[in-house]
């Protein structure tokens, strides 16, 4: 019970969590939209508007789930591994930096998949890659927020990106409804 109280006491303000979530949502949804632009010319050529919208409905529904899970993961790390860092004021910028490190690593990793031969080589280094990413993320997120202007930039960024929550989240709920109705008998 004491532990729970301790953990809950470590939780940052709702505003901070919202700021982190805004960054996560912006990155995850923007990546999906960015990828869709490569597909859109082909879709416009072959698919009707309804079919294209149904693709986005599935995409935004999944994005919502991804973003919630990503936020949960970051919060979990904050409550456990980051517990030793007691500066709650750095919570938001620290979490954003960690997420951005992992996201950047993911994008780079995706780009490095090649043909069959390259994949085998790639897979052998999988564990090392993610360990490095994680350690790098930890170091960056531990040290960078100590720099005042970095923290200011990150906090400002989070505040400004909150606008995307007002766009993407309602869209996601509409998407969820669309997916639901497309899948009932």
């Amino acid at each position: 019970m004491k532990l729970l109280q301790l953990l809950l006491g470590r939780l940052p303000s709702k505003k901070s969590i919202l700021g982190i979530y805004a960054v996560i949502v912006t990155v995850i949804y923007s990546w999906t939209l960015f990828t869709s632009f490569y597909k859109l010319p082909s879709w416009l050529f072959y698919l009707t508007v309804g079919k294209i919208l149904s693709v986005y409905a599935y995409a935004f529904s999944l994005n919502l789930l991804e973003s919630v899970l990503a936020l949960a993961g970051i919060l979990l790390l904050d409550l456990t591994l980051f517990f030793v860092w007691k500066n709650v004021g750095e919570f938001q910028s620290r979490s954003i930096l960690l997420f951005l490190c992992i996201a950047a690593s993911s994008v780079f990793r995706l780009a490095s998949f090649g043909d069959y031969g390259a994949i085998n080589f790639f897979l052998t280094a999988e564990g090392a890659w993610w360990l490095t990413t994680f350690l790098l993320g930890l170091i960056v997120s531990a040290l960078a927020p100590k720099i005042h202007w970095v923290r200011l930039v990150l906090d400002g960024l989070a505040e400004r990106l909150i606008i995307f929550l007002y766009i993407y989240i309602p869209l996601s709920f509409i998407s969820l409804i669309i997916v639901f109705f497309r899948n009932i008998q």
Partner: protein, 506 residues
Amino acid sequence: MSKFSRRDFLKLAGLTSGALAMSHWTPSFLRRQSGDTPNVIILVFDAMSARNLSLYEYRRNTTPNLQKFAARANVYHNHHAGGNFTTPGTATLLTGTYPWTHRAFDIAGLIDRSQVGHNLFTAFGSEYQRLAFSQNLLPNFFFGQFASDIETILPVSSFCLVEQVMGEAFKNDIPSAYRALDKFLFQDFSSPASLVFGLADRILLRSQEARANSGNYPRGLPRAGDQPMFFELKDVFAGVGAAVDELNASAPYLAYFHLWAPHAPYKPTNQFDKIFQDNFHPVKKPNHRFGDQKEFYKLNSRRQNYDEFVANVDAEFGRLIESLENSGMLDNSYVVVTSDHGEMFERGVDGHVTKLLYEAVTHIPLLISTPGQKNRQDIYSPTSNVDVLPTLLHLTGRPSADWTEGALLPGLGGTEDTQRSLFTLEAKSNPAYAPIKQATLAMVKGNYKMIYYTGYEGQDSFELYDLENDYEELEDLYPSQTSFCKALKDELLETLHSVNAKYGKT
């Protein structure tokens, strides 16, 4: 058989049990035993061009087992697909209608709702136990449309070593879910649109693939295109054999198997890899204005890979037929072997995603073995995949389908008609429910073939070839403007005009 995993066996056993349970929905007195009524087994090899089969006198010995099978079958030498890729080609086979009727001619298209009841499975009726399986997801969209008339639809990923198909989970919305999940959010040949799950999925899939390959496939495991499914050919054929084996005990059946191979990527086993490093030099054909301008030597290399994969498929086919023969199934079954479309390695085009409709991509194999047939019968008059459905209905004593645009195949109830016109349509860029304005239409009549390109950049154009004297379609006879040429052109345009009439102003 060792790679036909326990999971696959359980999956198949479960499905078969389900099918048997469902078969009880039909009162038993309405079902005849398979001994009275012949079974029908349809094997569709995706992207198998007749032009690359030694069965049809291709120089490389790609199909010794098909040739062996042909010794007890009707062999159609001038058989044509309804389209140049899976969607229209398969829809034509399953409905006995041309793409302008079934309207499934765009990528991942569906059959027109008004035509859904006009299909092979419905036409065979509940007296037959009906099974459908396709490794290619596109025909599964049709199976979904016909689901009320198919007792067993095996999952697309059956008999795979590794699979992560997601769209299948959304049973009531498979086409959209497949398009969104498997072709976008978790796509494997370019960056997945899902940053978190997409990456995790890819790492998992590729790790499993690498672990699953025992080393027998030097170019990696065969894969169903960009679908996240990896398989060994022997497992797939063993699975088909097992599925047929299970069906045999209960009632007469119609079993449709649409196998991915020899569709790209061409990945044969060690035994077939590089077997065609020979002195074969295909005829060099000029690049087409709608071709991809691929270099000739690269096309030849791809052709060699394709031929090796075809030979590998043929070997497995031989094993399957042998097992069917040993179990006596060939004595009471019609076995149909065909394809949905061909494959091109000429005129700058590699594959079949093209506007072109040359014989390499439209000329497909058709062999039909009748129960207990002992002799080979060769048919040279032009035939089409629209003819398969009416012929099978005729052979099995089913009520004929007045909606089909096909005719009975010669040698199996029909007569040779050399003046009949047959069509292949490519219209993937044309809206499905609009007049056909941007398309390629090929019409075969007797020995001649006319190709019409309309709605693309540049002027509409025609080509005309004498297939008997110009097998490689090198000499375009259209510029000669003979009266025969004009008659063919008028017929083709009149046909297009009449099929467009339903969709308003053309």
